[in-house]
Subunit: 313 residues, 3 copies
C-alpha cells in the first residue's frame, strides 16, 4: 500500500491514483469494525477532531462523528450558528483559535468554494473538506468509489453515468476527478442549463438524454435535486425535471443487467428516482451510507496519523 504523506484532504483533484487507492484499501480494513459487536478501535485515542460545519448537515456530520467515535477520538462539534462567527470573527481567526486548543483535525463544510484550501494555508491543523460550495466533496466521491470497487472489483473501462445538476454539484465534480484517475469512463447527463460549459475538458462525455446516458452504463449515480439551492431556477419545474431525468421503472429495461444505481442521499422519492428503483435490487444507496463510515474512518486515520508522525512525535 502506498504510504500516506498528505496533511490535508482538500480535493480529489489533487490526489494521485495511488493516494485514492490507499484510502479505499484502508477503508476496507476499517469496514469490519462497524460489523463487530464492539464497534471500537483505539487508533485515534487522545486525538481531537473538530466538526466545523458552516452549512447545516446531518448526514455527513453524523457519519464523520460516528467514524471518529469508533476510532476513539474526542470530538468537538462547533455549530456555527452559535459560534464566534456571529460575533464577527473571521474564518482564519476561528481556526487559529482551534489550533491553539491543540486540535489535530478540522472537518469543515462551507458554502464558499475554496474555504478549506484557504484555511489549510493558515493553520497547522489538518483540514478535511466535507463539502465546499459547488467545488468538491471528496469523502462523498471516495465512498462512491469505494462502493463501486466493492461491487465491481476494478475501475478499468467501467462506464459510469452521473445524472442531474452537474453544474452545481460538488459531488459530481469530485466523482469526475476521481473516477477518471482510476480509469473509468464518465458520462454526465442533465438538462443543458445544468451542464457546465466545456465539461468535456474534464474528460467526460455529455448527453442530454437519460436513455442514452444509461445504456451501457455499469453504474448510474443520481444527484439530488437541491430544492433548497439555486438549481431549481435552472429548470422550469420539478415535475418537468422528473419527467425527463427520473430513474423510474420505465428506465429499467434500458439498463445493463448488472448496472448499479447510486445516490448520495437524501433521496427525493418520485423526483430523481422512483421508490421501487430506490428500494430495488440494483440500488446500493444504503450500502453507500455504510461505506461512508468506513471511508471516513480511513480518511480520519490517515490524516490524523500523518500529523502525529511528522509534527508531534
Amino acid at each position: 500500500m502506498h504510504e500516506w504523506t498528505r496533511k490535508h484532504l482538500l480535493s480529489i483533484e489533487e490526489l494521485s491514483k495511488e493516494e485514492i487507492l490507499t484510502i479505499l484499501e484502508t477503508a476496507e480494513s476499517f469496514k469490519d469494525i462497524s460489523l463487530r459487536p464492539i464497534k471500537k478501535s483505539p487508533v485515534l485515542r487522545g486525538k481531537t477532531i473538530v466538526l466545523l460545519f458552516y452549512e447545516p448537515s446531518t448526514r455527513t456530520s453524523t457519519s464523520f462523528s460516528l467514524a471518529a467515535k469508533r476510532l476513539s477520538a474526542d470530538i468537538v462539534n462547533i455549530p456555527v450558528k452559535s459560534s464566534s462567527v456571529q460575533k464577527g470573527e473571521s474564518l482564519i481567526d476561528t481556526v487559529a483559535n482551534l489550533e491553539a486548543l491543540k486540535i489535530h483535525t478540522v472537518v469543515m463544510r462551507h458554502s464558499r468554494a475554496g474555504a478549506p484550501m484557504m484555511l489549510a494555508k493558515h493553520t497547522n491543523a489538518s483540514i478535511i473538506n466535507a463539502g465546499d460550495g459547488c467545488h468538491e466533496h471528496p469523502t462523498q466521491a471516495l465512498l462512491d468509489m469505494f462502493t463501486i470497487k466493492q461491487n465491481k472489483g476494478s475501475f478499468d473501462g467501467l462506464k459510469i453515468t452521473i445524472v442531474g445538476d452537474i453544474l452545481h454539484s460538488r459531488v459530481a465534480r469530485s466523482n469526475i476527478w476521481g473516477l477518471s484517475k482510476l480509469g473509468a469512463e464518465v458520462t454526465v447527463c442533465g438538462p443543458p442549463t445544468m451542464i457546465p460549459v466545456e465539461v468535456e475538458k474534464m474528460g467526460v462525455k455529455v448527453t442530454y438524454d437519460l436513455k442514452e446516458a444509461i445504456a451501457g452504463a455499469d453504474v448510474v449515480n443520481l444527484l439530488r435535486v437541491q430544492f433548497e439551492r439555486e438549481s431549481g431556477m435552472l429548470f422550469p419545474s420539478v415535475r418537468e425535471y422528473a419527467a425527463m431525468f427520473s430513474m423510474d421503472d420505465t428506465m429499467e429495461r434500458f439498463m445493463k443487467k448488472d448496472a448499479l444505481i447510486m445516490h448520495p442521499g437524501p433521496i427525493n422519492r418520485g423526483v430523481e428516482i422512483s421508490s421501487s428503483m430506490a428500494d430495488g435490487k440494483r440500488s446500493v444507496i444504503l450500502e453507500q451510507v455504510t461505506n461512508g463510515l468506513a471511508v471516513r474512518m480511513a480518511v480520519l486515520y490517515l490524516i490524523s496519523g500523518e500529523k502525529n508522525n511528522s509534527e508531534e512525535a
Copy 2:
C-alpha cells in the same frame, strides 16, 4: 429473573408483568453505578445509541444520554431541527440511513402517536419510545413504578391516583397500563374535559374531586399542566385549574400518613403543586429523576443486549 427477549420498547401496554419486573430488577442493579465515585460500567462499550428527538426535550434526552454514557456507549444526538427531515426526507428513510450506519438502538420522541411502532416495522435497529404524542411514554412510567417499588416494596392492592389532564397524557396512559398489570388500583382525577371517554375500560376508577381522589391513596402522581400544548383550551384558566386540582398545603390533611407525591417534572410551582408540597417530605420528585437514570440504563442494557445476542454475534 425473567429472560429478556424483546427487541424494542414501544409501549407498556405490550409488556407482560414479568417483563416490567425484569426491567425494574435490572434498574435496581444499575442504580448503584450512579452512586459510585467512578460512575461507569463497560457493558455497552462499542454500541452506538442514537437520540432522535422530533420534539424538544432536555429532561428525557439528558437522562438517556447520561444513562448511555455511564454504560460506555457511543451516542449520536440528532437534533431534528437541523436534520435531513428539513430536506424533505421521510421518517423511514431517516431510520434506514441510521441503520446503514450500523446503529444498535434509536431512542425516539415524536409528536405523532404510533411513530415508533411504525419505524420498528421498517428497521433492524431497536427502537425505544421516549414519548409518542398522546400515546405512551414507557420509560417515564417505568421510573414511576420503580420509585413506587423502592418506597412501597410491592404493588399488590396499592392505591395510586393520577391527577391532571389524563386525556392528553402519555405519562398517564403508560402508568395506567403498567400499574394495572402489577396489581395496583388506579384512580384518575381531573376536570371532565380532561378525562378520556370510557377510561374505565382500562380498569381505572374516575373521580372529579381531588379530595376524594387522594383520600386513601398510597401514591398521588400529579401530571404537568402543559401550557405549551392544546390542553390549556380544555379548561377556563390555569387559575381555575389550580383552585380545583392543585396539591397545596390544604390537601395535606386528606392524605394518608405515608402517601407519596410524584410528578414527572418539570413542575409548575403553584399550579399542580405548591412549593412546600413539592419540597416536602412526601415528595419523591427528585428521587424520580435519579431513578430515571437507573431505569434508562436498564432499558438500554436489555434492549442493546438482546440485539447483540441475536443478530450480530
Copy 3:
C-alpha cells in the same frame, strides 16, 4: 502546593493568593497533556460535568468541553434554548434535577450577576462560574494570570494595564481582583463613561489616555468591544473608540520593549487592536487560548477532586 478545599469556583474575589497559585501550578502540570500525541489523562473518568450556558458561547464552552474530555470526564451539554427553562422551570429546579442525576460539577454561564452564587447555595453539585453578567469570569482571569506567569515568571511589582469597557467587563473585574492579590500594579484605561465610579477603591490606577496607560506597562490586556451588548451606547461610535483606544502600530513606540499584548478574544481587528499588533511578536493572544485549556483542566480537576474526596468516598 497549597491543598485545595474549596467546593465551588465562583469568583476570584473570594480566592486567596495561595489558592490562585495552586490553580496556576496545577495548570502547569496539565499543560503538557495537550502537547502529547495522546492528549488524555484518566483523572476524571466516571465523573459527569454539565455545561449549562444561559448565554451563547463557543470559545469558553469549547475550552471547558475539551478540558473535560482530555481528563476523561463525561460531558452533558445543556443548550438552554431548548431546555426546560423554556417550559418555565426555575434555575433552582433545573439544578436540583441535575443534582438528582448525580452530576459532580456544573459549569455555568448566566447573564445575571450572582446566578452561580445563588445556585451554589441550593445544590450539592459543585458550581464553576463561566461568566455571570458584569460580575466575574474567573477562569478567564486565571488563564490571563497563567499566561503572565509563564512569560514574566513573577507578579511582584509587575505593571499591568487593562484597556476598554471596564464598567461592563467581568474579565476586567476578575483580573483586577486576581492581579492585585498576586502583587501586581493594575491600571485601567478607557473612556470615562466606561470606567466604574470609585474603581480606585479596588486598588487600581485610572487613566483616560492610552499612551499614558501603556507607558511602563509590562502587560497590556485589551478588552473586547462588545458590539452585541449595551456598551456601544456609552460611546459615540466604534470609529471614535478605535481612534482613541485602539492598540495600533503607532502605539508600538510607547511600549516597553518586552511588554506583552493580551486579549480574551474574539478580537475585533481594527477596533481594539490592529492586525499587525494582534499577529505581532508581542501578542500572546493565541497562547492565552492554549493556556485556557490547561487552566480549565486544573479547575475541573481541583473542583471535582475535592468533591470526590469529601462527599462520595
